[in-house]
Symmetry: C2
Subunit: 242 residues, 2 copies
């Protein structure tokens, strides 16, 4: 049925490090000491270094030749670029989903949708987000495109640590709910063009980007800015103000 999950040590270690990054226990830009992590996880350097190589190709850390690894610093531009991509992928997933989704799956999503509305009425943001995630996941699964799902999952991983959207204005929230109403409608009519468009323009992404502009500006994500060796600061931060 689903994929056989291979439990190699390197994969386990990679996941654990990913968690550390997501929860901020490994700060952005922080240098990662191999020995330190070896002791923390109780493994030898070989599987740990394999894990680091993998995490680097997954875009979570970057490797400095002969100088070890460090957590990638999420600049505003990087996050924006990633969200643009994710929006495009969500759009595609919507189009494909309309072509392949079963009636049972639509019914299940409708069910989720109704539950989500309930949470909206109760103003339960956490519960709302959880169901929201499940709905998008269901559509993604209905696309029947494994490569797409893999890519989306990877992109999602990269920006996970900034996905906490604590503040959600009523206007935005209301609009998001409206988007979801339209999504369900398009899905039930199997209007792939429409669903694709809605998902591409779905507020969630734009909203998060908007709020993030503030968050990142605060310096909470990029403590010592993006420039490593160049003394000149580029326009990336000033762009936030425009």
């Amino acid at each position: 049925m689903s994929k056989i999950l291979q439990r190699n040590l390197y994969r386990e270690v990679a996941d654990r490090i990913g968690d550390l990054i997501e929860h901020g226990e490994l700060a952005p830009g922080e240098r990662i000491s191999e020995k330190q992590l070896c002791e923390k996880f109780g493994v030898s350097r070989t599987p740990l270094r394999e894990a680091l190589k993998v995490l680097a190709t997954e875009g979570l850390i970057e490797l400095l030749p002969n100088r070890g690894a460090r957590v990638v610093r999420l600049t505003f531009k990087k996050v924006k670029d990633t969200y643009d991509l994710m929006a495009a992928l969500e759009g595609l997933s919507g189009e494909l989903a309309c072509q392949h989704i079963s009636d049972a799956e639509i019914a299940a999503i409708r069910q989720l949708h109704d539950t989500m509305l309930e949470h909206y009425r109760n103003q339960d943001l956490m519960a709302y987000f959880e169901i929201n995630r499940k709905i998008h996941e269901s559509i993604l699964a209905a696309s029947r495109n494994d490569v797409l799902q893999e890519m989306y999952s990877n992109l999602s991983q990269r920006v996970k640590r900034v996905r906490y959207s604590k503040k959600m204005t009523q206007t935005f929230w209301r609009q998001a709910v409206q988007d979801h109403e339209n999504m369900i409608a398009a899905l039930e009519k199997r209007d792939s063009q429409k669903l694709g468009q809605i998902l591409r323009e779905h507020l969630c992404n734009k909203l998060e980007v908007a709020t993030l502009a503030g968050v990142i500006e605060d310096g909470s994500l990029s403590p010592e800015n993006s420039a490593e060796n160049s003394p000149v600061h580029s326009t990336e931060n000033s762009a936030v103000n425009s």
Copy 2:
């Protein structure tokens, strides 16, 4: 300027193995012996295994626990899924390019376009494809989205070994050229919606998928079909005659 290319041994090895796969010297489904490759490249097992882990996350090979690695078998569905994704990414790149591209870059693409038309008139397929690739690359670069470029490049790698479209009917070719005419027009008008749409529907992808359907059916890509452990050889040989 551009990224500092780190020349780690593992990256070098990974690229070399990638080449072997692309050129078919490592057959699809073939088991990869670590020792064998170590001797071939003259490196120890450590960097080689790091390379294998990376190639696995890049989707070129798959790792069987305690049984080594093997080249992924490109099924028709996998290729189709990948092309669908690439089309979506090209579409996005078009939209973004219209927003960021400079006049100089447009002029350069126009230049490429004219050269390509020349090759079309001379019916020089190889030269045509080369310029065609450069044009799409230029648009991708103009999107100013590094994540997008990285993802596209990865997807492109995965299906590289089947991208040889030797046969190109005149009808298809003519349509492709027409598409490119429209692309340039949209680009010069900076009509992002239009360019996006053209790129998403650009014949190249659909054409390749169509021809590939034949190629893969021939068994040249999946020698023993998609089934892994089934002892029964299905229609693979009889299909060649049909």
